[in-house]
Symmetry: C2
Subunit: 490 residues, 2 copies
């Protein structure tokens, strides 16, 4: 046994334990008895303690020093293990456990504060989380930029400066597109009837299969918030049903199938290794978004979906495929990020990115956050925020300390734009296939060019290899301009 072999054997058990911790999360959101919360908290703390001890085990340092990689796979495994080991050993244990304790309480307080539109109660709690994460970022940054250091947890290799430049270009384009679209008149009406739960779930399961989700290695359940959970041979998704909004169910399912198909599509040789999962949050989001938007909301695919909905629910008041395409792609300003259309979505992210950088830099105090939020929102969306739950209280992320996470949503959309451009170039008959409900060409292209590699390549290289170009915002903007210019041409 070489040092590398010893390290990988140790890592394999750590990966397996990580999968178990993830599955406990799935259990909690889907099937756990309500009264088990307190005990579950202790169970989660116990397994997180085991994982933390393993991730900071001093033997890892020794093995890393002695390991000699003989191929690209070994080099990538060592890169990922070293990244995790450095990250986990840099943060003092006392700070790590104070952060865990603080954020677990903060999330509950946030949920109550949002429900009650009560910023004042949440503010001191958030201030505490901000303070601790800044401290953690400083420990990770070794004198460098705090925000940049935090960003590495979600998008390794990305820099705040690069993202800032990318997002500035994107913002200019999106604001212009938004004005053009909104100036073209009112969007089509929303659906005006209830769609039964069983029909939504049945069609949801059919869509998951259509998009290549393998039920042999997964399952679909209902949860309050849709998510995908697990890697390798056990990747589960959740969705939800809203009686008057079946698109919520269908597009949540397709979105999560994008995440899950990525995990299911990774080369089996990487099972329970650091490469056996998505390359980053941004690359993950590129898969969920391209499934959901560029494919799922395309004119061709919505034509197919329209007919499946008619077959499932009967006439639901939309006259034809073209009207349905417009309904699915209605553009409306709104306060809530998670309900935003393709034109508005990234504007929500861009403002969060700027605000959270300011919070981490110490340039914005938590007390001044609502004011800064509302000012920026009015500038970009043209409307005043009417209450905190429609403003800076709407997202869970900051309450649990996820600073550096938001930009990966837009990076995912940017990446999806690049991938989509390449996909269209390589598959000239794609629309004809999608119109028949065949996504195998598109999903197969993504599996072959991206998903199967897991975390073998760094995120940006993963996208560059698959799309044949360095990531840039141009393809996304071109796609949005073409799609919404066509839909809402003046």
């Amino acid at each position: 046994m070489t040092a590398y072999d010893d390290l990988m054997a140790f890592q394999r058990d750590t990966e397996a334990l990580g999968q178990i911790a993830g599955r406990l999360g799935w259990d909690q959101e889907t099937v756990m008895p309500r009264g088990a919360v307190e005990q579950r908290g202790e169970e989660m703390a116990a397994i997180e303690g085991v994982l933390h001890a393993r991730r900071t085990d001093p033997r890892i340092g020794e093995w890393l020093a002695g390991a000699e990689p003989t191929d690209d796979v070994a080099r990538a495994n060592l890169r990922e293990i070293r990244r995790s080991y450095d990250r986990n050993t840099k943060v003092p244990a006392a700070l790590a456990s104070e952060l865990a304790r603080t954020t677990s309480v903060a999330q509950g307080i946030w949920a109550e504060a949002r429900a009650a539109d009560d910023w004042a109660t949440f503010a001191p709690v958030l201030a505490n989380v901000v303070r601790l994460r800044r401290e953690e970022g400083a420990a990770l940054a070794d004198g460098g930029d705090t925000y940049n250091a935090l960003l590495q947890d979600y998008e390794p290799g990305a820099t705040a400066a690069e993202i800032e430049a990318m997002f500035a270009e994107l913002r200019t384009g999106l604001v212009a597109l938004r004005e053009r679209v909104l100036g073209a008149g009112d969007p089509p009406a929303k659906l005006d009837r209830a769609f039964d739960d069983a029909g939504q779930m049945a069609l949801s399961a059919e869509l998951a299969k259509t998009f290549g989700y393998h039920m042999l290695h997964g399952r679909i359940d209902k949860a309050v918030h849709p998510f995908s959970s697990g890697s390798g041979l056990d990747v589960r998704i959740t969705t939800r049903t809203v009686p008057h909004d079946p698109f919520n169910c269908f597009y949540s399912t397709i979105h999560e199938v994008g995440h899950a198909a990525y995990e299911q599509g990774v080369d089996r040789a990487y099972l329970l290794t650091p490469l056996g999962r998505g390359a980053s949050m941004g690359v993950h989001e590129s898969q969920s978004r391209i499934y959901e938007n560029q494919i799922g909301r395309s004119r061709a695919f919505t034509g197919y979906l329209y007919n499946r909905m008619i077959a499932t629910f009967g006439d639901f008041g939309v006259t034809d495929e073209e009207a349905f395409y417009r309904t699915v792609n209605a553009v409306r300003p709104g306060y809530i990020r998670t309900e935003a259309d393709e034109v508005h979505y990234n504007l929500h992210i861009l403002m969060r990115f700027d605000l959270e950088r300011a919070l981490m830099a110490g340039d914005l105090a938590v007390a001044d956050l609502p004011g800064a939020w509302d000012e920026r929102f009015e500038a970009d969306f043209g409307v005043a925020v009417d209450r905190p739950s429609h403003g800076c209280l709407q997202d869970v992320h900051w309450s649990v300390g996820l600073f550096g996470y938001f930009p990966t949503y837009t990076l995912g959309n940017v990446y999806a734009g690049c991938l989509h451009e390449a996909l269209r170039r390589d598959l000239p008959d794609l629309d004809a296939e999608l119109a028949e409900g065949h996504t195998a060409g598109a999903t197969g292209w993504l599996r072959d060019n991206l998903q199967r590699h897991g975390a073998l390549y760094e995120p940006q290289e993963t996208i560059a290899r698959a799309s044949g170009q360095e990531p840039s915002v141009a393809p996304l903007l071109a796609y949005l301009d073409a799609k919404f210019g066509d839909l809402y041409g003046d």
Copy 2:
């Protein structure tokens, strides 16, 4: 922090991790995607490895040496932790892992062999398991009796000699009762129609609630084999449905509710400590059996159940409550332990106890097991075994090395007999309550006198305190003689 505090803090995480491992088992039998088996095997091995390392951690020895208990609870915690530590450190690591590997493969081979009625394929595998368990038993016995040492895993404090004497008395009584009952003529006919799945599950859930199972801390799912899983605030049960045999569903549910209510009923102060679970397999089985048989198959309760079944399924061909009571309590000889009635059940166990003691003592070779089994079966049941799957291939236990487990089933019935006698003495109006479907008197008595103590007392003391007498077979035999003498009186 004293040594005792340190030990208990360490133990608390071990208990939490044990709960997680148990829940993975639940997941595998209920909701796991079929294609996840291979990955799950690695996950289970990883968490079992963590648990084994914790249970043999040398610090436990030091803490045990330094701990000074100040009350009965602390003394009982130390007793349980010392028992586990001694047990786990006595077995060489190489033997423990060979046993784990061998039995995990053996179970699959057993399942295929049973399905194919193929003793020859299974025999060498079983011989290997027997060899390893004898070796483990010898390591645990320190020169004492091997079987006795293995028994301690399931029924601490019990001895094979005591059980042998008890079972000899029981066998005499059961053989006599059996001849009396079978001589009295044919049992009532079986049910002769299908009962729909939804109705069975709905009535099953109602019965679980009726018997005091808390859904706030549990859930009911379907599985191939009914079981109860978990302790404390998250105790889940499974059941199954068979179209023409609704009693399979209802009495499986009531049986598992007995196990689950015991776990749910333990004093909350013992949560995630060694006392926060049932005292032994035998005491556990006393709860499942008294719920299922002495209460659930009583004339009073079956009268209630009859009317609930009429309400759920309509007329199903049984004319009245008395005919229903006879149908539920039909006595029929049969090959299969798990399908046996109250008169025959323990005869199945008694023969397994004698055979497995002979296997562990080296007095019976695995090659001679089928002959020995068939000879004993014909002696006790008066029928020749027609195929291995009806004989010594029927149970999973030996394939996974569970030698010493079988007698706890009959001990459970013996204990249930003792508890039932005391329960009837303390609750003179019990039948009137049961006839109305009120089990709160009986289940409350069991919770107050037994369940709440968890593993505070040793198994035999647990029964003696609750029933007011040292465990003996007399109450069980008296109960069976009275019940079946009345039903099948000559």
